[in-house]
Symmetry: C2
Subunit: 345 residues, 2 copies
């Protein structure tokens, strides 16, 4: 399968996760809910780490669960792991192969923590290390740049949240995901036709906040991996605390701002960077007023629930990076310097 077909396959992948695997994931959520822990301790790298950012916000806001993102080097390089007896230790890894991520789960288990692996390979060393396993079951992801495994990881995280919250309404909203993602894929032609103006972009910032802080990070990572743009992700609040200084006329600002709690703050920020600094805005949103201030507006479905918007909003971002890479003559199946399975210590 090519990168393009993996991007286009996402409605089917999510549909399978929300049918075949739904009850198993909800079963894991129920089993975990009965256990005793005070916080989640989450280990991941690269794209999976961006999925972890989504878990940090979603589980924090919807499940009142504080999430600490692990520094795997504490376990591997420093060999001084923290106390995890009262933790839910979660590892997210497409391949389930990276030694530093496996080390976190093994240590959690040794200390008696509840451990959970979210992986695309249920036979991987990571899956074998954890007490609970969620198989994202996307089929093999061949492309170096992860796309369908990312949206599948996010969907698994959302299912777990809904299962822990145990509200029927949430599960109903989840079932709409394949349709919403399918609608986002219809931006393909529009995106193909607009990327030419970004061909010479060397750098940019990507803004998102709350649930979509993860989307800003993942869009940024894909820009680097596929189209060699030095993209830097920020929350709108962090951006005001310093990095704002790099803006100048025409500086590319990409933003992900679906309707929801962070809209007012993000709108204010984006109007400011456009009016005061003359920044060039590319916006993924479902809010008309916001799309109107953008040079390149990318519209997602107006009825996308905010908590699920990261799973929808990343799709135009993936297409954007894919078409930009093609426009720049980059071989998207072989981005320089990268391998599919990265083993880090």
């Amino acid at each position: 399968m090519s990168l393009r077909s993996e991007i286009l396959d996402q409605p089917q992948v999510l549909s399978r996760l929300l049918s075949t695997h739904r009850e198993r994931v909800l079963g894991v959520a129920r089993a975990i809910s009965r256990r005793d822990f005070e916080f989640a301790f989450l280990a991941a790298r690269g794209t999976s780490d961006n999925a972890g950012l989504y878990a940090k916000y979603l589980w924090g806001i919807r499940n009142a669960l504080p999430v600490a993102l692990a520094a795997p080097s504490m376990f591997s390089v420093y060999q001084s792991p923290p106390r995890l007896q009262r933790a839910l230790v979660v590892a997210i890894s497409q391949s389930g192969q990276s030694p530093d991520i496996i080390a976190v789960v093994q240590e959690g288990r040794r200390q008696g923590a509840v451990t959970l692996a979210v992986t695309n390979d249920s036979g991987s060393p990571l899956a074998l290390s954890a007490e609970f396993v969620i198989d994202t079951d996307t089929g093999t992801e061949k492309s170096v740049a992860a796309t369908k495994t990312y949206t599948a990881q996010l969907t698994a995280i959302a299912l777990l949240s809904a299962g822990m919250e145990d509200r029927a309404e949430r599960l109903e909203e989840l079932q709409r995901l394949p349709e919403l993602v399918g609608e986002a894929l219809r931006l393909d032609n529009q995106i193909e036709s607009v990327v030419a103006r970004y061909r010479d972009m060397k750098q940019c910032v990507v803004l998102g906040r709350g649930f979509n802080y993860a989307t800003a990070h993942e869009w940024s990572l894909k820009l680097k991996e596929l189209s060699y743009v030095a993209a830097a992700p920020y929350s709108a609040a962090d951006f005001r605390h310093g990095p704002l200084a790099i803006l100048e006329k025409g500086f590319p600002v990409l933003a992900v701002v679906p309707d929801g709690a962070v809209l007012a703050d993000m709108f204010d920020m984006l109007q400011g960077v456009s009016a005061s600094f003359g920044a060039d805005l590319t916006v993924i949103s479902n809010v008309k007023e916001l799309l109107q201030v953008a040079t390149t507006p990318l519209r997602i479905a107006s009825d996308t629930p905010e908590w699920l918007s990261p799973i929808v909003a990343i799709v135009p971002a993936q297409l954007f990076c894919y078409h930009l890479a093609l426009a720049k003559g980059i071989d998207v199946e072989h981005p320089r310097g990268l391998q599919k399975v990265t083993r880090t210590w």
Copy 2:
């Protein structure tokens, strides 16, 4: 006081913290140690957030304390705070004024958590909200770009760690900080003479790992604030998982690699990016072999203890950004778009 005098003042600032305030900080450490919590929940923005990264590694590795970095928007924008009954809630803020950071401490207190504020204004709303307060007492920091308050925050974090660990050896190492920082300041002339070659740098990556992941972030932030360079910080491990693709011949790679546990991995990475990609290396280190592979080697004291190296290694980075800004004709006292006190929600 100017930015330059604030940078040069750091040995005196740290000396005061390690004499006048030492017993008070150790008293806070002892009082906290007697309390009951499972993890730290740390809220900060901008430079203070980078100090938080140091706490995450140091308290994790030396005090076995898992540290979750707060997403303040959960408290302010989403108004859905997580459970904090079993947390040590820590807020770090120079001004003690930002509403979203204050909200985290107030919520922690409401839930019955242990709360601690590290601030430069002991009369600030933040200080008044917390049960325990550490005053970094650097004197007024006038410059928009934080320098002496950053090293003071790190020193307070290190003192707290030593106090919780209660080992005399650690306290003795801490007393050497003013001298080590003073020695780093002697790089001033060398740095002034090398920055000309970076005048046209638009972007770069800054690598650090473990304790100095914080230094990579803070160097990167200062580059953006003061010299308008789009700098992106990475741990060596995360860099391998994707962003590596942006490297090309002559791409500027800045790295902070003092002797210690992460040396082998970082050395391997830097030799690779230099040999395979032809990246241009600027290295802050005390390891001869590593300084030799750098185009611009910046040497800190050979006997700098690894756990304290972030407090020493940031000093040449500050000087680098200061001189680079001057070389580019930037008014370092008034970087565009920034204010000293940033209020975010």
